[in-house]
């Protein structure tokens, strides 16, 4: 009758309630200190934990831009006349393109496109200028490497507008009638910088993966190294074990939040438009959600390798994709849109964007907050239910 024995021990000695609680608190604090010691001992992991968000913010902030520029192209100029040369020099002068070389025939052009670095070929047929002047119509052909469809579309439209520009210069004498000029304004992010989109995304991504990975290993490690037995015979309820495992990582993750925010404000020039306090409150909620997911994995698995595979291999790409900061969720097929709802990073990303960039208040994000809280509760309850208090 082992279960009766443990129950008996957990209630013993039958001290007054207040004293019991005090002992409880003290126990938890000691246990938390033990977990902290484990974390702080492993210097290499710590370095990665704190270094990673910094490196990623810098990569995202500076290296990844959504604007298209410096695309390498080839020119096949069979006309070699005034008009084609002027258009080519206009293309060369723009930021979007970098003329890699000029090719003489279509064979060479095909070869160039196959090399993989050339995104586009512009072809001027012979007699380009003559056609333009005498027949009032000349043709240019663009061949785009459309493996990246959006890049191809954007580049084609840039060439198009350069040609339009030239045409306007050419026709300066006669005014073009019935002309609509669209005036474009970019809200929130006029320079189309990557940072306003990516900083909230990276916060969601890094916090999620780091928290899940850290806690996913924590309990299964005790199982594998055998120290779980010691925990099980101690008068510690599963709930306390989970709390003690989670607290150190909560604090570490908060340091990460601070460093990400400092970097984004001072290095990326991305101010926090909304309430900093609200942002921190939501961050704590999100971190707790992720920690409970990690604990859930840890309780459910039996070896560290499996826990790691699930939390890294299984979570990384889905988190990147389903949080919505790389690819719009509304473009996904409906079943995937539904799946994306259970990814906490999605909700956190929305909240950070709303608070940081748009400067909105709690009124705009209460729904997301509730969803995160619900996910946390569900994960916690399942983890507690499936926490085995006996060996095998």
């Amino acid at each position: 009758m082992p279960i009766i024995w443990t129950k008996y021990f957990m209630n013993w000695p039958a001290a007054p309630n207040a004293v019991n609680k005090l002992i409880d608190m003290k126990q938890i604090l000691i246990f938390i200190r033990k977990e902290f010691a484990h974390v702080l001992r492993d210097r290499k992991t710590l370095l990665i934990l704190f270094g990673m968000p910094i490196v990623q913010i810098l990569i995202f902030g500076f290296a990844l831009t959504s604007e298209v520029k410096d695309a390498r192209i080839v020119i096949m100029d069979q006309a070699k006349d005034a008009a084609s040369k002027q258009i080519i020099s206009k293309i060369a002068a723009s930021n979007y393109f970098e003329i890699d070389k000029t090719v003489r025939n279509s064979q060479e052009m095909k070869e160039a496109l196959k090399q993989g670095e050339i995104r586009l070929a512009v072809i001027f047929p012979a007699n380009f200028y003559d056609d333009l002047v005498h027949q009032n119509e000349a043709r240019i052909q663009i061949i785009a490497d459309a493996i990246d469809p959006n890049n191809a579309t954007t580049l084609t439209s840039y060439i198009n507008s350069i040609v339009q520009d030239y045409q306007m210069d050419f026709n300066k004498t006669n005014n073009i009638p019935y002309r609509i000029t669209p005036e474009l304004r970019f809200l929130y992010n006029p320079e189309l910088k990557g940072a306003p989109n990516y900083v909230p995304g990276v916060m969601a991504l890094v916090l999620m993966l780091v928290c899940v990975m850290m806690t996913a290993v924590s309990i299964v490690k005790e199982k594998e190294t055998g120290t779980m037995e010691i925990l099980l015979v101690s008068p510690f309820s599963p709930f306390k074990v989970i709390i003690a495992k989670a607290v150190p990582y909560l604090l570490l993750s908060l340091i990460n939040v601070v460093s990400i925010l400092l970097l984004s404000v001072f290095v990326l020039d991305l101010p926090i438009n909304g309430s900093v306090l609200l942002l921190f409150a939501e961050s704590i909620l999100f971190i707790i959600t992720c920690l409970t997911i990690g604990i859930f994995i840890s309780v459910k698995t039996n070896t560290m390798q499996v826990a790691m595979l699930i939390s890294l291999m299984g979570m990384m790409l889905p988190t990147i994709l389903f949080s919505g900061f790389m690819f719009p969720i509304e473009n996904m097929p409906v079943p995937l849109q539904i799946i994306s709802n259970i990814i906490p990073a999605k909700w956190y990303y929305i909240m950070v964007k709303d608070i940081m960039i748009k400067g909105l208040g709690f009124g705009a994000i209460w729904k997301e907050t509730l969803i995160l809280a619900a996910i946390t509760m569900v994960m916690l309850i399942i983890s507690l239910k499936s926490f085995k208090i006996r060996l095998s």
Binding site: N136, N160, Y178, E183, V306, M332
Partner: protein, 372 residues
């Protein structure tokens, strides 16, 4: 040779014994390849537009029709005030505002010119950029329609015009899966290969069995080879499964030579596995190895040209990308699978990868100490 044979026997036995890991290593990539390309879709087909129509003329109606019938845009509604439309953008229910000013039709006809206002939610730069490019194209189309109404087309154009004809090669339907599938497969193969090897040696360290190996007369390179070969085979299996998924589900069959692709993967896996081994020689625990691997994989993925093109990165980032083996694999996969590039085209990439493989593996052998 005999030593390696026995080592391999041991490794394979260990791999097959742990069914959970084997299943993970094979099922996770296949499932992700099935699902993720569907999610990673940037085809512009549902940019939501809020129209502020201050003109209420037949022309403004025509323009709105043109925008909605283009297939790229979803009309959130028209007849908003600017404030209402702005709120729609704030709550993410609209991506673009198209404002048609009062007197649009009259000015266009009488004064030969008129402005239109387009405001774009630019937090997500890619989406903003694409949405605006498409909208401007539609407006331009509409403009030439209007012009045609007023100017009788003669035998010749009324003034010199340049006609730009564009064609899209390798992916004529602009299908986004074609772009994503080879790239995602490249990442999955990298993660499986590198991650499993990194964990494997560290596990021997953590459990202590590495000491037993160290006291035997097994040579360093025997040990490393014994670790490499099983995961090399596993990597090839995952890659083959990925190709089958790409073919059956997405209808993507390699245009180029399949043998060339396997040849490249063979060398590439050596490089990635070598990287995993190198990391494992530095780490003392599996947790450490996992975090270090995570750090690098993350950078490899983001700087590999899978989601955003390397062309647009600043120069320092391009230099970093040169040291990223994943960027070569993604590039070569796209080249061989989609463009049918031959050996001559991929020779430089193959050269770099061979170099990576040599450097990583020799560092790993050098750094693996038999005495502690």
């Amino acid at each position: 040779m005999r030593t390696i044979k026995f080592l391999l026997q041991k490794e394979f036995r260990q791999i097959f014994r742990n069914k959970a890991i084997l299943a993970m290593a094979i099922v996770v990539p296949v499932v992700q390849l099935l699902v993720l390309p569907l999610a990673a879709n940037y085809e512009v087909k549902s940019v939501s537009v809020a129209v502020i129509d201050n003109d209420h003329s037949s022309y403004s109606q025509k323009l709105i029709n043109k925008v909605t019938s283009s297939g790229y845009f979803k009309l959130t509604g028209y007849d908003f005030s600017f404030k209402q439309a702005y709120q729609l953008i704030e709550s993410d229910r609209a991506d673009l505002i198209l404002e048609i000013p009062q007197g649009f039709e009259r000015n266009l006809v009488r004064e030969n010119g008129q402005k239109l206002f387009v405001a774009v939610n630019a937090i997500n730069g890619t989406k903003a950029n694409l949405g605006s490019v498409y909208l401007l194209n539609v407006i331009q189309d509409f403009n030439s329609d209007v012009r045609l109404q007023f100017i009788q087309p003669g035998a010749l154009n009324w003034q010199p015009t340049i006609d730009v004809a564009s064609s899209n090669w390798y992916n004529p339907l602009l299908n986004y899966h074609v772009f994503m599938v080879p790239g995602i497969l490249a990442i999955l193969v990298t993660m499986i290969g590198g991650f499993l090897t990194a964990l494997n040696i560290v596990k021997e360290k953590e459990v202590g069995t590495i000491e037993q190996i160290n006291v035997t007369p097994i040579k360093k390179y025997h040990f490393i080879l014994g670790k490499l070969i099983p995961f090399w085979i596993l990597g090839n299996v995952v890659f083959t499964l990925g190709l089958i998924v790409a073919w059956l589900v997405y209808g993507i069959t390699p245009v180029g030579n399949l043998f060339l692709m396997y040849g490249f993967i063979a060398v590439y896996l050596l490089a990635v596995l070598g990287f995993g081994l190198l990391i494992s020689t530095f780490c003392d625990s599996q947790q450490q190895a996992m975090f270090v691997m995570f750090f690098f994989v993350m950078i490899f993925v983001l700087m590999g040209g899978l989601f955003t093109s390397i062309d647009s990165m600043p120069n320092w980032a391009k230099v970093v990308a040169r040291f990223n083996p994943v960027s070569y694999l993604i590039e070569v996969m796209r080249m061989i699978m989609l463009k049918g590039s031959g050996f001559k085209n991929i020779a430089p990439q193959l050269g770099y990868i061979t170099l990576f493989a040599l450097v990583f593996n020799s560092l790993a052998i050098y750094n693996y100490k038999k005495t502690s």
